[in-house]
């Protein structure tokens, strides 16, 4: 009896061992090649916990190819990954899904080595076929991706070739200085989930907000868990994420992120104070003072990161308007087109007053469009003159203007100088700036109206009818590199706001800027590029097509329990290192 029992249990043990061995072998096989980890150097944290963040509105889509608005991109950044990534903290590039790459001698070929063993969040493997598919979708004209135009170099879309399962080669039509930065935010898509829809021309319907979580897979630190319309979107940890910290712990640290939809900034501040959310991103200076006073009591910390990349500016209508259609504007352009007039206006503006009154002191005055927040491209040579009404008056006098008895300014024909500044009424900061400038220019005898129109009307006037005199706008570059903003500085550019889409450059200095910008595009050597771009900035400071005013500081806050909180001045300001954030 005992022997039979022994034999039976022995048999069971052997069978179990064989089963286990087979299982191990099979699972090892299914795992494919070993994961080539990306190791991060951040301070280590412990895993677990749930992070709550507020979003100003609901994401419009979860499809990285179609997303254009900030909120959608914030969520998508947590769900997807790119080949080469710009580290928001250092503003320099680093490897991501591509572990290394080489550049050909002529600067037109980039060969990328992909990380092996990486899997999508649903467990399917990632390889070069996914890369080819992703670029095919991004470049397809029928899909109309807002990012497509960035991937067109020298008039031709970049060409992708598969060399082997983990190597891809990119071909550019001309050498391109910022080529590596092209890859940032071009998310790699899962071919196994999206190819069939793409073949059927139904790609634009995929991955919208009503997509089930199981249909979604990405390479980011988190994956979609649940979407409750109108309230929140919940993301859970991606068990297959390919980054680990230097102690070998797989990232991300947090178990879950909840994005709550809170429509107004004030409600966001209140909910943060009440403890509903852990991180508060980008709020106004006024709320900063309120939050600052209660920091220690309520257990959070506010941070002023200094200026971001946004620049606000005043500009005049320098379009060629026909005197028949817009007689008033055409008449006043005689003043606007005189560089001394623009220089006088710039000299009369109280930038310090703007900083103090509009931004509560939390902004930086600007005399050029490259803000101090841009570590690599600012030109230190540009002069920063203080407000001087005397200097402004001298300039106006030498330009043929004179003052009447009652102090009002008149041009050489004797007509009073009077114009309007167009702003979007929904942007309170720019409306305030316009009001301050109105008072400042009254000191020169100019009569200025502030025309605050609703945003759609402003866009219509600026881009279509050109029926405006002066306007205040702001642009926020998404990247420190000058190339993505080419369309603002090229005279043929569509966002060359003061005089877009010129057939030939209207002024010699605009022609010079065109030449310099085209040259810096193909110059691969950074010091040479910097010299070219410095010259561009100097020409702009001299001719003042835009009169730069101020750049708001980036203000963020986080609860003390949020570890590795390292906000940056590029988007996404607080969550760019979301995989390294942990909760104490």
């Amino acid at each position: 009896m005992g022997i039979i029992r022994f034999r039976r249990s022995f048999g069971v043990a052997v069978a179990a061992a064989a089963f286990l061995a087979a299982f191990l072998v099979l699972s090892l096989d299914a795992a494919g090649p070993e994961v080539e980890w990306m190791v991060t150097d951040n301070p280590t944290g412990h895993t677990g916990g749930r992070l709550a963040v507020a979003l100003r509105s609901e994401p419009k889509t979860l499809n990285p190819v179609l997303a254009e608005d900030e909120t959608s991109r914030e969520v998508i950044n947590c769900l997807t990954a790119d080949l080469i990534h710009i580290n928001r903290g250092s503003q320099k590039i680093e490897p991501a899904l591509a572990k290394s790459w080489s550049i050909s001698r002529d600067g037109r070929q980039y060969t990328l080595q992909l990380r092996r063993g990486v899997k999508f969040s649903d467990g399917q493997p990632f390889d070069a076929d996914d890369v080819i598919f992703s670029f095919q979708v991004y470049l397809d004209e029928k899909v109309d991706s807002p990012q497509r135009d960035l991937l067109v170099v020298g008039g031709k879309p970049i060409v992708v070739e598969k060399m082997d399962a983990y190597t891809v080669r990119f071909q550019l039509a001309q050498p391109y200085a910022a080529a590596e930065r092209l890859f940032d935010s071009v998310a790699m898509l899962p071919r196994h989930l999206l190819e069939s829809a793409y073949q059927k021309n139904k790609f634009s319907d995929t991955w919208n907000i009503s997509t089930a979580a199981a249909q979604y897979a990405g390479l980011g630190p988190f994956r979609l868990k649940e979407y409750v319309p109108g309230q929140r979107i919940a993301l859970e940890r991606n068990p297959y994420y390919w980054k680990q910290d230097h102690k070998g712990v797989r990232l991300p640290y947090a178990d879950e992120i909840d994005f709550l939809f809170v429509p107004s900034e004030d409600a966001q501040v209140i909910r943060f104070q009440a403890g509903d959310t852990d991180i508060l991103s980008r709020f106004s200076a006024d709320n900063f003072s309120v939050l600052q006073t209660q920091q220690s009591a309520r257990g959070y910390q506010v941070r002023d990161l200094g200026p971001g990349l946004e620049y606000n500016f005043l500009f005049f209508n320098l379009n060629e308007v026909s005197a028949k259609d817009l007689p008033e504007v055409a008449r006043k352009q005689a003043w606007f087109q005189d560089v001394k007039f623009r220089q006088a206006v710039s000299a009369a503006i109280d930038r310090e007053g703007i900083i103090r009154l509009v931004y509560g002191g939390r902004a930086t005055p600007l005399w050029g469009h490259v803000t101090p927040g841009n570590k690599l491209w600012g030109d230190a040579q540009i002069p920063h003159p203080q407000k001087s009404l005397d200097h402004a008056k001298e300039l106006l006098k030498s330009a043929g203007f004179s003052w009447k008895q009652d102090g009002s300014l008149a041009d050489s024909h004797g007509s009073p100088v009077e114009f309007s500044i167009l702003v979007s009424s929904s942007n309170t900061q720019r409306t305030k700036m316009a009001t301050i400038i109105q008072e400042d220019l009254a000191g020169l005898g100019m009569k200025v109206h502030v025309a605050a129109l609703e945003f759609g009307a402003v866009v219509s006037r600026l881009t279509k009818t050109h029926d405006y005199e002066a306007a205040i706008m702001g642009l926020a570059s998404g990247d420190a590199d000058p190339t993505p903003e080419m369309n603002v500085w090229l005279s043929s550019g569509e966002t060359h706001l003061w005089h877009p889409k010129q057939a030939r450059p209207a002024t010699p200095w605009e022609a010079e800027i065109d030449g310099l910008m085209q040259q810096q595009l193909i110059t691969l050597d950074y010091p040479k590029r910097k010299r070219l771009y410095d010259k561009v900035q100097e020409i702009i400071a001299q001719n003042l097509p835009i009169i730069c005013l101020a750049s708001p500081n980036i203000l963020v806050a986080a609860k003390n329990r949020v570890g590795n909180f390292q906000p940056a001045i590029l988007d996404s300001y607080t969550l760019w290192n979301v995989e390294q954030i942990y909760l104490q």
């Binding site: 008033e328 502030v450 129109l453």
Partner: protein, 343 residues
């Protein structure tokens, strides 16, 4: 107190208020656009009667003035400069009713003193002056819109109620259409179509006029209700029997019965349209800078930091409450006097 007495008192209060607003230039110590950038969000200036040595002065004074370091709202201490409040002073020039130039102001302090009785806003502009000047625009807008809405509503409602039948039905359906449609876009379109150099306050009055013009539906329904029963009254039937024309009956017999309702509606709608301004400002259609209006003063309160840190920004809202109470008191008194049919 009889309704008539209540009406008289309310009208008196209203008259005083409107008087303050009409002569805003006289009652306000500063011009509405004068920015004092050193004193942004300054708390209300304290009026002192007793100085640092303990002497009592009949004439009130303020301490501090031009620089930020001076604490306008704070206590007195030895060494701070004091500025007496003078009455009937020569201040910044203004125009009575926009026509007659004048410089006499009720009170003021010598430079570099400042007297901000209810504090300043983000640009350092005196809130009291802005409140008084703002009343000119807001009251004009409110009265204009209310009159337009009620006049148009009266005509349409009377026609609908009097003729009945398909006229009534179609007009009431159109009224529902007007109540339901998003006229906001029409306002956007009107605003965008206007040239840029029309003065802001004129554009604003135009927008409010459009708003009032579009608001005839509710008064029309009420008037229709009254007319429906009014036209069955004995004397109206008798007049008809005597061969009076429709116009005559409407004008002499039916419409007079609605006067009570109409006046009540006006009294109720004026505050409504004054508050509608706040929504217009919220949507970007408010009166432009630097012209103040009650709506723009109130819309500053939308921001949390204002509520949390600068309590004196509430004061203009509180100053409005007695005004609205006066209007509602008039409406109540009128209702009691005329006893109209409700709804």
């Amino acid at each position: 107190m009889t309704p008539r007495r209540k009406l008289q008192m309310a009208l008196l209060a209203l008259g005083c208020f409107h008087g303050f607003v009409l002569f805003a230039g006289f009652f306000a110590p500063y011009d509405f656009s004068a920015q004092d950038r050193e004193h942004s969000y300054a708390a209300p200036t304290r009026l002192h009667f007793v100085d640092a040595q303990g002497h009592f002065h009949l004439r009130p004074f303020v301490c501090g003035g031009a620089t930020e370091a001076d604490d306008l709202a704070g206590n007195l201490s030895d060494g701070t400069s004091i500025y007496a409040v003078h009455f009937l002073v020569r201040g910044a020039p203004y125009k009575i009713a926009g026509i007659i130039p004048a410089r006499l102001r009720l009170f003021g302090v010598a430079e570099p003193g400042r007297v901000f009785l209810i504090g300043t806003d983000g640009y350092g502009r005196d809130q009291l002056s802005r409140f008084l000047y703002g009343g000119q625009i807001s009251l004009l807008a409110g009265l204009l819109a209310a009159f337009l809405a009620v006049s148009l509503g009266a005509v349409i409602g009377a026609l609908a109620g009097f003729y009945g039948g398909w006229v009534d039905e179609s007009l009431m359906r159109v009224a529902e259409l007007f109540l339901a449609s998003p006229w906001l876009y029409l306002l956007f379109a009107v605003r965008a179509a206007l040239p840029l150099h029309v003065p802001e306050w004129q554009i604003f009055i135009l927008l409010v006029g459009v708003l009032g013009f579009l608001g005839w539906a509710r008064p029309a329904r009420l008037v229709r209700g009254v007319v429906l029963s009014a036209k069955e009254r004995n004397f109206v039937v008798a007049a008809r029997g005597f061969g009076a024309s429709d116009t005559h009956i409407l004008r002499r017999h039916v419409l007079p019965q609605t006067y009570g309702l109409l006046l009540t509606q006006v009294a109720l709608l004026v505050p409504h349209y004054i508050l509608a301004e706040v929504t217009l400002s919220f949507l970007g259609l408010g009166v432009g800078e630097p012209v103040p209006s009650w709506g723009s003063l109130l819309s500053q309160l939308q921001q949390y930091f204002v509520l949390a840190s600068y309590w004196w920004m509430f004061l203009p809202a509180l100053l409005l409450v007695p005004l609205f109470l006066a209007y509602y008191a008039i409406a109540n008194a009128l209702q009691e006097l005329f006893q109209p049919v409700t709804l």
